[in-house]
Point group: C2
Chain length 233, copies 2
DNA sequence: GTCAAAAATTGATTTTTATCAATTTTATAA
DNA sequence: TTATAAAATTGATAAAAATCAATTTTTGAC
């Protein structure tokens, strides 16, 4: 089933990081975490900044991107609710290598560095979950580089739509076709192509009855065809 | 200085993983690790296999690659001496997602799973080093996807040559220009291009006096020009 | 609801890169 | 050393994708 494979190859897996904490640890976490609402388009952190904590995405969506040597953004990941952000830099003791910016109004919790590190020190569970999650990311990233190194833009767009379909799936209304509301520019920066090329390919997909669009919203009608186009298994 | 940046963005950083071990732990490691010599072109592990230990590369070079949906290899990393291999899968408890194969005659040590996991359990140092190393890899991989998503083949080749220059640097004879002996096919699979395109670009670089070739050996004459071509900072 | 700014779309063209088909060179094992 | 298979190179062409230049549509603030 393609959905599992997409999940395995596109999900970094930082969900449920704090699930195995003891009651005491949970109390500490709850007492020290700071909730904050972000409007669409707000930057959470920037490349070059020194991290002083990590973030949990309670609701909403966040794009993670780098800015290439020529100034163009490359969106390498979309976070959806439940995922953690910014733990890499805290652990590697390096400045953020990337930007995090909300794609829609979002709610995040900030966990200060000292809290996170002391939880990490106390909790073997958290430690193991982090090691496991970080190790799994290796699979995600080598898949991603292989896709960019070998697949055509059309194939990459098909994969990007399948990935976004999972990210935009509404757990409540599973029957309806998934609707993805995203700027063409952002989608182009996920796929790694020019906006014009992206638009033409979307038109092709529309003509092939694979998607429907309404304004900037894309509705996925036929994921199986995308799997085929992407030549994905 | 470009060499530091190359190092930071192209080195996974699993060197010296076992440096902080206690004497007892070192004794355990030494008593249980198994040394093995590999001939050039031997496969160390394959995608889909279940790991039962990790490897340390004592000398030689190893290419790590995936095989894309169309059957073509994508070389995403070159290991040089001192680096560890295969720890991701052991920690993520997933089958290997990639292949490891020697590029030249190489000497490796195998550390059985039980030894590695018990050392990990005992040694806070090892644990921290792993977390740090795995987190740093995030920087390496997002840089890599950005390069593939945004840079031309010519730019990617320039970067690949700079990366290989570091990997092939002989610490003993630092003055001489670095010589890289690599199949055109492997280099094409690092850069993500067709062999013919690669060859034509190498010819351009020769004409521009940036490199020299003799048989399949590439000698880097002018790294600064490669930095410029790659538009890299 | 209106309207200006932003975003999306389309067409024409150029550039980049892959593919196909030889031919030449190099490496390697007997 | 030599034969031979593998690898590298070159040329011609096709395909993929980017760029440039409008024009149309959509969005979001008022």
């Amino acid at each position: 089933m393609y959905r599992e494979i997409i999940y395995n190859k596109y999900q970094l897996g930082s969900n449920f990081l704090f699930e195995g904490l003891s009651e005491d640890e949970k109390v500490l976490l709850e007492s020290r975490k700071i909730n904050h609402e972000y409007k669409k388009g707000q930057v959470i952190f920037r490349a070059g900044m020194t991290p002083n904590g990590i973030y949990l995405l309670n609701s909403g969506k966040v794009k993670k991107y780098t800015i290439g040597d020529d100034g163009k953004p490359h969106i390498f990941y979309i976070c959806s609710s439940g995922e953690a952000l910014g733990y890499h830099s805290l652990l590697s003791e390096e400045p953020y290598p990337d930007y995090a910016e909300t794609l829609e109004d979002s709610s995040l919790s900030f966990i200060p560095k000292d809290v996170f590190l002391s939880l990490l020190d106390q909790s073997k569970q958290l430690n193991q979950k982090l090691l496991k999650s970080l190790s799994h990311e290796f699979t995600v990233f080598i898949h991603s580089t292989t896709v960019f190194a070998q697949k055509t833009v059309r194939e990459r767009l098909a994969l990007a739509l399948l990935m976004l379909k999972e990210k935009y799936t509404n757990k409540d209304s599973k029957e309806k076709p998934v609707e993805i509301s995203i700027l063409r520019e952002d989608l182009a920066n996920i796929v790694g192509t020019a906006i014009e090329t992206l638009v033409r390919l979307l038109r092709d997909f529309k003509e092939e009855q694979i998607i429907e669009t309404k304004g900037r919203t894309i509705r996925i009608l036929h994921p199986a065809k995308l799997v085929k186009i992407a030549n994905f298994y």
